[in-house]
């Protein structure tokens, strides 16, 4: 049934962070190691509301298989999730719920805004639609498209992985980050 399976003989390992390597030891910064671990085991919380959610289903399904990038398990509970994926239109009625979900997530957390509606309201410049989720929660990566193709969604996740990998250990405690949250009226 379907295509011929392609077997990959060569396994690709995640790239090691910069460090000092010698016989029997490898020394590097803790930051880099933790970043590596975080980036390759992001648990997404799919906040799928409309059309983009169906493309997300396609992304999760066998053809595109998001699990290849370390996001095998969807975390439907915000408390265990690392990455909030907002997919679809967020109406004003839904806004408070989205914010609550974001606040319930534990640090560190990243937000991926998938699709035109979540990023900017899209074609729905109407009285009932929130004009972009960045009005209520901070967003890390925007994915354009209406809806984006699964490849694009995966690219967005790869970008978040990049962020997670390179994030400074103390970023979440920095004044800058606090200021960002304060600007959204949190904490």
């Amino acid at each position: 049934m379907g295509k011929q399976l392609q077997k990959r003989t060569k396994l690709e390992m995640a790239k090691l962070p910069d460090g000092l390597e010698g016989p029997g030891f490898f020394a590097t910064k803790l930051e880099g190691v933790i970043g590596l671990a975080r980036a390759n085991s992001l648990w997404p919380l799919p906040f799928a509301t409309s059309c983009c959610g169906i493309e997300f289903m396609a992304t999760m399904a066998s053809d595109y298989d998001l699990a290849r990038f370390g996001s095998e398990r969807l975390s439907f509970s915000p408390r265990q999730a690392d990455m909030l994926m907002v997919m679809g239109t967020i109406a004003k009625k839904m806004g408070p719920t989205l914010r609550q979900v974001y606040e319930q997530m534990a640090e560190p957390k990243w937000v991926l805004s998938v699709g035109a509606c979540a990023s900017s309201g899209g074609i729905f410049d109407t009285y009932s639609v929130l004009q972009g989720i960045d009005r209520i929660i901070p967003v890390d990566v925007y994915v354009p498209g209406c809806p984006p193709r699964p490849e694009q969604i995966i690219e967005g996740i790869l970008k978040i992985q990049e962020l997670a990998k390179n994030e400074s250990f103390r970023r979440r405690n920095s004044d800058e980050y606090k200021k960002l949250l304060n600007s959204y009226g949190m904490e």
């Binding site: 004003k92 009625k93 309201g121 410049d125 109407t126 009285y127 009932s128 639609v129 004009q131």
Partner: protein, 175 residues
């Protein structure tokens, strides 16, 4: 082509029969009737609307047992609101459209929930969009919009766009 001709005849027939029936049972209910794009349309006086719908539903000949759709409309002069019912009799494949108009300042008509339970949410939607008060409705409150909303967004006087939007300034569009 002849098939469609027949259909048209049938519809004219249906229109006449229903008008006759309604005139007999509730005189003065039918203000106007016409065939619009293959649909018999009846304009019913708002005080007689419930009576007329009851007759259409319970009459053994017409038996409009199925409420296809219920929605609101605002008249072009913005002084009247209307409610539009689409009724359907499945076995005989009769479809009719019932329209009733009333003053925008006193938007009150009786509910159709007692005839078709399915009218419940459609009436709530109409209330939400146009502010039509359905008397006797079990739970008439907003359904799609937030409860705090104080406008009836589909009325022509209210704008479509989100009024709280700041990024739509001229600066953003290079004007």
């Amino acid at each position: 082509m002849s098939r469609f001709e027949n259909l048209k005849m049938e519809k004219q027939d249906l229109l006449n029969k229903i008008t006759e029936k309604l005139n007999e049972l509730t005189p003065g209910a039918v203000e106007k009737s016409e065939i619009a794009y293959g649909f018999p349309v009846f304009y019913i006086h708002k005080d007689k609307i419930h009576e007329a719908l009851t007759i259409l539903k319970n009459d053994p000949e017409f038996d409009f047992h199925f409420l296809t759709d219920l929605t609101g409309i605002q008249s072009a002069d913005e002084k009247q609101l209307g409610v539009i019912y689409h009724l359907h009799n499945m076995p005989k494949n009769y479809r009719v459209r019932i329209k009733t108009y009333f003053d925008i300042n006193k938007p009150e008509i009786p509910t159709a929930c007692d005839l078709w339970p399915g009218a419940n949410w459609m009436e709530r939607e109409t209330f939400d969009f146009y502010g039509v008060k359905f008397k006797g409705h079990p739970n008439l409150k907003r359904i799609l919009n937030v409860d705090e909303m104080d406008i009836f967004p589909l009325r022509k006087e209210y704008p479509l766009e989100d009024q709280s939007r700041e990024d739509k300034s001229d600066k953003m569009f290079g004007r």
